[in-house]
Amino acid sequence: MHILDVEDLFISFRGLTALNGISFSVEEGEIFGLIGTNGSGKSTFFNCVNRLYKPQKGRIIYKEKINLLRQRSHRIPELGIARTFQNLELFHYTKVLENIMVGLHPRLKVRRLFKHLSPKAFNAEWEWGRNEAFRILDFLGITRFHGRLVSSLPYGLQKLIELGRALAARPDMLLLDEPSAGMNDQESREIARMINSIREDYGTTVLLVEHDMNLVQSICDRLCVLDSGNIIKIGKPDEVTKDPEVLKIFLGEETDAQAGRH
């Protein structure tokens, strides 16, 4: 089953085309990588899925029936799509545990305002939320930091906390925007292992924007190469990395340019 079908998605910002009518599908349960140079529209695509941007044309069909572009942005996590950001978006002045608990928001049952005022419902929900958040912290292996202030933690841990917040919504599809940016080799291997176990334990489909080619090749099932809003190539990692056109984009066009100059 296709979990995501992108059809002819087009978005431009005052004449600057960010996505030029791209179409592709993502299978359920796969790890799908989006790669490309800076400004090729990878993060823009994520923002379109999350409804932070409004595309001018096209459709994004989720689970073969829901058109995401018709949904309000806060409904997206309820449908089962969670994401992380390239530049961290965390609640810096609250504790780690509460950051995770905010991610639980779409799963909390009590909807009516006045119900929050009854101690019984309040205690039950608070207890449930706390246990659930601890379970996620245990999964990520950062339980011992639960009482710490987020801004007092190192960058790598903050990345994990953001991942934890996304996982708290129990997503069917996880959008990870450069999960290994700013991390050292060991940490990025750790992240790769984590992404694999997320897929195995939770059955989550993962969409991944990444610059680290080692990471991408080791975990992705399929890759999509974007260049200034157009899809260059979709396929298995080893096929894609051998493609001459892709190599041209990633290694630059010196050969052509030099040939032209002489």
């Binding site: 999350n50 932070l52 942005s73 997206i76 309820e78 909390l108 005022l117 608070w126 917040r165």
Partner: protein, 362 residues
Amino acid sequence: MRTFTIKLGKRRIRFSDRMIKEDDEKRWWIAPMILGVYLLPIVLDEYSIYLLHLIAVAIIGAVALDILCGFCGQLSLGHAAFMGIGAYSYGILHMTLHLGSILSLLLAGVMGAFLSLLVGIPSLRLKGLYLAIMTMGFVFITDESIRYFSTWTHGVEGFRVSRVIDLGFTKLSSGKVGFFYFIYTLVILVVVLARFLLDSKVGRAFTSIRDSDTAAEVSGINLLLYKVLAFAISSFLASFAGGLMAIIIGTISPEDFNIWLSINYLIMLVIGGMGAVYGAVIGASFIVFLPEWITALRDAFFPPGTEIAVLQYLIYGLIILVFIVFEPHGIYGRWLVIKTYWKKFPFNEKRIGRMAWILRWR
């Protein structure tokens, strides 16, 4: 979980930070505190009881503003407008239309909550200082409207409101002990309910909007709903407090609800500790008591005849400066530091002030 074990003779004691957190949530001192407040009228004279009435109104108003500014992060200078709307709504509903006291008070609150939509909905686009300026405009509009519709509001000459409240089974007049019990029951109700609300998912949604609204949005929080909700709850309580204020002071006029009142409430929050319900309570009590202390100070240290107003603004300014520079988390923040210090006594961390504030009760 961070655990550590210490040996005391033959006994081994295990500590963990989960334990310390659990320990924080003991609420044994709430009941004695309520009892203490209820026993106050036995020892106090009439003037002090009147002062405690004003403190009660200030506490409800400050908690209301704290929900909006401290928790949801929407800086508002429009608080006076909502208190004015509440006071005049109560006056018109009760005195002119002869509705029951409690019903008029509640309807005054609903009126404030409804009118807060006017500033709540634009808050989705306006942030920080711009929102503050817009809400300040709302104060001017309310002020002028009160003057303009003088057939209903009696304009600048002042609206006389009955100082007696009819509960159905009994009548309480403000300034008396009975009214004291009535109004402090309301205060305790407001504080307890605010604590519950702010510790639930609604409170978490508010704080997450304050810290980063993009992250809140992708976590499934409806920004418009929760911002409007924060404005509505805050304005409901503020208007309710305004209605109570009308009963207590008896005569209300537009000057009672100008921009200085809004600023006064912001000062209460800063001095008490913004973003904590108890901070608002402490700040409100402190600021209402301050003129009394200043009078005592003048009598003790300054030559007779020194103008109280001059001294008051001088000391106000000094206190704000000192708090902003040395104690940004307010009196409640400092109390938390002291408490945490003694609680963790042999295992203190560095920068305990910051940690205490993070681990605070809402």
